[in-house]
Amino acid sequence: MKVIEVGRAGTDANDRDADLLRRELKEKDLFLINLMSAAGSGKTTLLSRTITDLRGKASIGVMEADLASDVDAAAIEALGAASIQVHTGGCCHMDAVMTREALEAFDAGEARILFLENVGNLLCPAEYDTGAHLKVMILSLPEGDDKPLKYPLMFRESDALVITKMDAAPYFDFDLEAAKRRAKALNPKIEIFPVSAKTGEGMEAWENWLLTAWERWREDA
């Protein structure tokens, strides 16, 4: 028996699969966004509103990852957008291999921006690179402003933080400035968008940022 030093992260094989997938998607002109959040944070509601608002500017498709059920995909399809429900078979996060399989089964049609709605969970989705070009996380107002302290990795990994359900602010002791400060302390580059998909508050800033990020990615050879 000989000892071989490995010294690789437990996610090493996945990281390389993810890089490959990212390059392949670029060749196909498909911009993939990994959308992460806790369960019930309003991912599907945010996407529904974004799809409707950006009609004519960007065609959006959605891959809904969930342990089981297809209620979210049905809601997206009702808007006329391409969607697919991905069952993770009880697994708590999407990885690059699962994302590739979902993409192969997905008829994106005219969609050029694809959202991957990751499993509702603030922990391990942050650890597994799916091959996405952008990572966006959602924190809904009722979850509390202390979440950056409890789930630091997700805040560190994300390009943008969308704070949803701002219309519920009068009913909760959510300190928006504290949430922003805590998120920025973990990740100074994170873009923060407080929104309400219900009233439309803040949606324009989020959507403009999304379009700009997409355009920049397209120009980037």
Partner: protein, 114 residues
Amino acid sequence: MHELGVVTHVIRTLEEVAQENDVTKIGSVTLTVGEVSGIVTEQIIDCWNWFKKKTPLVCEAELKIEPVPAVTWCTACEQTYETVKYGKTCPHCGSKETYLLQGSEFAIKEIEAE
């Protein structure tokens, strides 16, 4: 089950390592697992023992775990403390301006092979 997915990733990485080093049989695998990595040691060993049978390369390999204690650094009083016991708040000065120094790692350290 988080650990089962983790084991499949580890085995895929081990298959690559084996190929690079002309190894056909692995005798043991040592993982470093941080105290707050989210990995449950008992569960990962159970998953390993179940899943390894499906892969000839590791079917007889023993999984060894090297735990890494979680330690937090306080930027206010510049001291360290045990993360799991005190969480985000420094027990020395009460500050919340603290960050994790170690304990979130999850890596394949080494293998024993023929």
